[in-house]
């Protein structure tokens, strides 16, 4: 059992040399059509498929791409991953999934993936060090960051325009006459959290305003509820809570409901990302659309472009965002 068929077996059965078998499976190779057909037929009969691991060893491409994803159970991450994986595999690549969970060391994971001779890596979670970026470059495996950028490191990245997104949101709130605004941030040390907060503060100061309160969650629905309650119970009169992502905004809305506070009449709540569930439920979210598909596509474009020309200039793509006006603000 478990006796695997090799090119040698096929060659023997078809009465040709092993090289012929190899060529029969190589699209552009020099083989007579007749022989190729014959070899392919014999291979089929024997249940032979070229061993891609062995093929990868010849120095040719392995077709493997590492994808570092975070907590997949979060809507935005899942959504992005779905697009990424779909695009990847429809281009003939095989995604090697690396989970960057709590405390998971991204550097170590990429290092490990590199040992599998991946042709590239897409990092959509955790933070990458300059060191690992260098290792990737040394291995000839381009690195592409999603939703984070590593300044002046020569690493390509695609990221939505967080500053602009927050500006759109703040302008809307201010236009509605809201002035007493709080910020509910996400996990510390994440690029999104930092940039989005900066966006809020810049936009506010542009109106001569500042944040009245600052709380921090971890991008989850749960933390949105908890911090939302805390914010609401603090006794400070607020008329808007800007959240670092949709999940937390949904949590805050739940918190408001629990306290009998009307959204958006008494207080406005905004999200970020426009995940599918943001449009649902008791109070559809006013948020900023973070274009996932475009992001995934751009990431692949960057990856392929760099595979083709390793020395091209570093590119940081900022995908555009749009305001989605629903009821929560």
């Amino acid at each position: 059992m478990s006796v695997r068929v090799t090119a040698d077996d096929v060659a023997r059965a078809a009465g040709v040399s092993r090289a012929m078998v190899s060529r029969a499976f190589t699209p552009g190779a020099s083989v007579s059509a007749k022989k190729r057909e014959h070899v392919l037929a014999v291979a089929q009969a024997l249940g032979y498929r070229p061993n891609l691991i062995a093929r990868g060893l010849t120095g040719r491409s392995t077709g493997l791409i590492a994808v570092v994803a975070g907590e997949i159970s979060r809507p935005y991450e899942a959504w992005l991953l779905e697009h990424l994986v779909f695009e990847l595999s429809s281009r003939g690549y095989q995604p090697l999934l690396l989970p960057a969970l709590r405390g998971g060391n991204v550097t170590e994971m990429i290092d490990h993936a590199l040992a599998y001779q991946v042709e590239g890596a897409i990092v959509a979670a955790g933070s990458v060090s300059r060191e690992i970026a260098d290792r990737c470059r040394a291995s000839g495996a381009p690195l592409v960051l999603i939703g984070r950028v590593l300044e002046s490191s020569g690493v390509d990245a695609v990221c939505c325009d967080n500053i602009k997104g927050m500006q759109l949101l703040v302008n809307r709130l201010v236009q509605q006459g809201r002035r007493r605004i709080a910020w509910l941030g996400g996990t510390e040390d994440t690029f999104s959290d930092q940039e989005r907060r900066r966006g809020v503060e810049q936009a506010l100061s542009h109106h001569g305003l500042a944040l009245l309160a600052v709380h921090r969650g971890d991008f989850s629905l749960h933390s949105g509820l908890n911090e939302g309650l805390a914010l609401l119970d603090a006794g400070q009169a607020l008329d808007a809570i800007i959240c670092a992502n949709d999940a937390m905004a949904l949590g805050v809305i739940e918190a408001a409901a629990q306290r009998g506070i009307q959204v958006p009449d008494e207080i406005a709540v905004t999200g970020f990302d426009d995940v599918p569930s943001a449009a649902w439920g008791r109070c559809p979210l006013t948020t900023v659309r973070n274009p996932v598909q475009e992001t995934a596509l751009e990431a692949l474009r960057l990856l392929e472009a760099r595979v083709q020309m390793p020395t091209r200039a570093t590119q940081i793509v900022r995908v555009g965002v749009t305001l989605v006006e629903r009821v929560s603000a």
Copy 2:
């Protein structure tokens, strides 16, 4: 650039043979502690890591496991995938992710993964044919199904007790005095849909009841809304809608809200899976808990058990379900 360091380079630099380098990186191998340390140090300095592709070629294990997942953006799938990938990689395996999207041919994908010499495959989406099961067996790569079983095919599977789950739900509804019950199924031809429906019908007939209406969605929130509206607008007096999963149930609740129908007072709605978001929102779902983590763990257990003993008896694990009583029913 992109000059990769091989074991030969390390051997030369360390003044030993290539075999020594290999042994230094092989835990149980016969090397003097001193030499191993030296080799490892030189390797570190040169930035060398064994090429796992080459290592896999020697007939040893590749550490690759194929994971066939469906639409990752759906809560249950994402949740399961997260657990699966986490467990897999914390056991030293590398998950190769294969997306089984609309119309995606699972057979073809597994076949392709087999060419990468995966050590096993976990299928949590799509349906597998007896044919591909045989191919896997021939390749010595165990197949484990999640949420679906392939009768008398010798394929291990882990699946929750759909029949029992629906029985729990039906009993509760009947106990509440509800008799006019409708079924909102999921995508046709899926194992879950079929078994869950069967569970509902069996449980109902046990009470001398039958379904009053049958609609079909595709397991999505959206289809839940649409079919929910259709069901509600049909003019038939219903007092409960049993949905094939949570997402659709949430959609139905939304539909009821749009029509101004009170849940659960006027109509009860039930889900299945108990995804995180089921506990949230305007009307927390009464549903059945489908234990994801246990499922993932069992799947890995089956996989490893079969790797160790390929001839062991086929095992179909039915993980237990529990009723989660919240407000929607």
